[in-house]
């Protein structure tokens, strides 16, 4: 257990920034976000949660996979080797479009040079994450790290392996926090390289990994006094007290499976506007899109965040959309977090930060959704119930039930959303 004076925090971050980019929550005109920290910037820790988690620093909102250039047909010089191509395209290691030429097509067809995206990963220290934010990375690690025999994502992992997560435990959890409900806690250490707890005059810190220990080598740290350690434990316990457990995790996956066809999905999603706010502020949501962007003869293939509420997320070229109805898209998010992901990765895809509740334009409450869907009393279309809101949907619901019969059948029309 170490102790750092509150007043030494800037010096500590300064120390860290010698070897890594330091990221910390800062307040920009009332909006608290994780931003690159520079000397002189205040670290905002009074606000419990930044607007977004720090996920964009490991999994950026957009990044190029590869770059390419078509060479002009009229060009007399055609590169035969990667070295020649580099010269021809004026590719330098530092300059614009720099990086490695991974392939050169053979002449004389239309020349195409493909350049692998630069490995831009640099060491990062993210300070001021909350336990739920850090846990988000642990859950994404499984997806991008190839857990269970799947593929390994070099872009994510190159950044992830160079990142140190310095977590600060929560002192005043919000009413929307439910980390304890999903197996975490306001003082949880999962994913943290070091865990800081704020006490009146500073931080009690504990290294949990070698990366964390290295960060705590800063000379400003002293051994924590017994009183300080005790104060930290008390602060953690007090925070723990304040977080409620709003729904039962036990049996939730089975309940979601059982209620896939439930009319409750439509009722719960009524006020959803099908935007992507909940997924973009979420520390765990990781779905993305891949798109090519080219101008004239050069371009790049990039990935950018995408979300399952996007109406064109699953839209196929034929015009068919497996989730063209809002409630189906809505259902997917919760099912993904508490059923699909657990089935694949033996964990769950939610750390209970509550951002999706607070920043949803219509305040859709994941606790309520899981409470209803996980309670086991959710009714399916097959047995319409006396639940107050189910009456008027009966008509359209019949269409869906019919589809349920033939798994490969065509989607019945009139499913709530007209097709375009």
């Amino acid at each position: 257990m170490k102790f750092l004076q509150e007043s030494d925090l800037p010096a500590f971050l300064e120390h860290l920034s010698a070897e890594a980019n330091v990221i910390a929550p800062t307040d920009v005109e009332g909006l608290v976000q994780f931003r690159p920290w520079t000397a002189g910037t205040d670290v905002e820790l009074d606000t419990l949660l930044s607007r977004q988690s720090a996920k964009e620093f490991i999994f950026p909102q957009w990044e190029p996979f590869l770059k390419y250039r078509y060479l002009m047909v009229c060009d007399a010089k055609r590169p035969g080797t990667a070295e020649e191509a580099k010269l021809e395209l004026r590719l330098t290691d530092e300059g614009e479009g720099g990086g490695e030429v991974v392939a050169v097509s053979d002449p004389p067809a239309h020349e195409l040079v493909m350049v692998g995206a630069e490995d831009s990963a640099t060491p990062q220290v993210i300070f001021g994450l909350r336990p739920c934010d850090a846990r988000g990375f642990v859950q994404m690690d499984r997806v991008f790290g190839g857990y269970g025999g799947f593929y390994f994502d070099p872009y994510y992992n190159s950044r992830r392996s160079l990142a140190t997560l310095l977590v600060v435990t929560c002192h005043q959890p919000r009413s929307t926090c439910f980390c304890r409900g999903v197996g975490g806690g306001p003082a949880g250490s999962e994913g943290a390289d070091a865990l800081f707890t704020r006490i009146p005059d500073g931080f009690v810190a504990k290294a949990l990994t070698t990366k964390g220990a290295k960060a705590l080598e800063f000379p400003g740290f002293v051994d924590a006094s017994e009183a300080a350690a005790h104060a930290a434990e008390e602060a953690k316990a007090a925070a723990e007290e304040m977080v409620s457990v709003p729904f039962e995790l036990e049996g939730l996956r089975e309940a979601l499976r059982a209620s896939f066809e439930s009319v409750d999905w439509r009722e719960l999603s009524r006020r959803c506007i099908s935007c992507g706010t909940c997924t973009y502020v979420c520390p765990n949501c990781y779905c993305f899109n891949v798109t090519d962007e080219a101008v004239e003869t050069q371009g790049e293939r990039l990935r950018c965040w995408d979300n399952c509420f996007n109406p064109s997320y699953t839209l196929e070229a034929s015009g068919h959309n497996p989730r063209d109805v809002k409630s189906n898209r809505f259902r997917n998010r919760f099912n993904h977090k508490f059923w699909y992901y657990p089935e694949k990765y033996d964990s769950l895809l939610c750390s209970g930060c509550g951002r999706c509740i607070t920043y949803c334009p219509t305040r859709i409450d994941i606790r309520e959704v899981l409470g209803v869907m996980g309670s086991g009393v959710a009714e399916s279309d097959a047995a319409p119930s006396g639940r107050s809101e189910s009456a008027a949907v009966g008509e359209a619901a019949v269409g869906e039930a019919a589809v349920g019969e033939a798994a490969l059948g065509e989607k019945a029309a009139g499913d709530g959303e007209e097709s375009a």
Binding site: L71, M72, V73, C74, H110
Partner: protein, 159 residues
Amino acid sequence: MTVVASSQQTQEAGSAALAEGAGPARPIKVVAILCNWCSYAGADGAGTARLVQPYGFRVVRVPCTGRVDPLLVLKAFEKGADGVLISGCHPGDCHYSEGNYYARRKFELLRRMVPHLGIEPERFRYTWVSASEAARWQEVVTTFLAGVAALGPREGRAL
């Protein structure tokens, strides 16, 4: 896939056209969107008549100014244009009867929005040049380019 013998020539032509009065930085880039029936013919006429024109602008020929979405203009600015000039048939003379009447409203709104985006008003102009008005075209394009050149390349832009 056909690779067009590309715009390199045009780009170089553009580079050569270091507009007078511009700062030392880079040459200005101006896009001129001309309707096929009037202004393009007018500009063509100016060329045929060997009227002296500045040459640091790129012409985009469109069927009708009514087709020009204000967003295309904003996209040009976003892509780094220093000025955008739109010219079509005089109101009343539209090849498609009323295309430029619709355009007029849209461009007027755009003209008023452009300064709001931190772009100097001189960088956008919409006007009318008929097929027979070669001299007017010469005047329009010369003044517009001079105005943009006086401001120089755009810097610190939001769009």
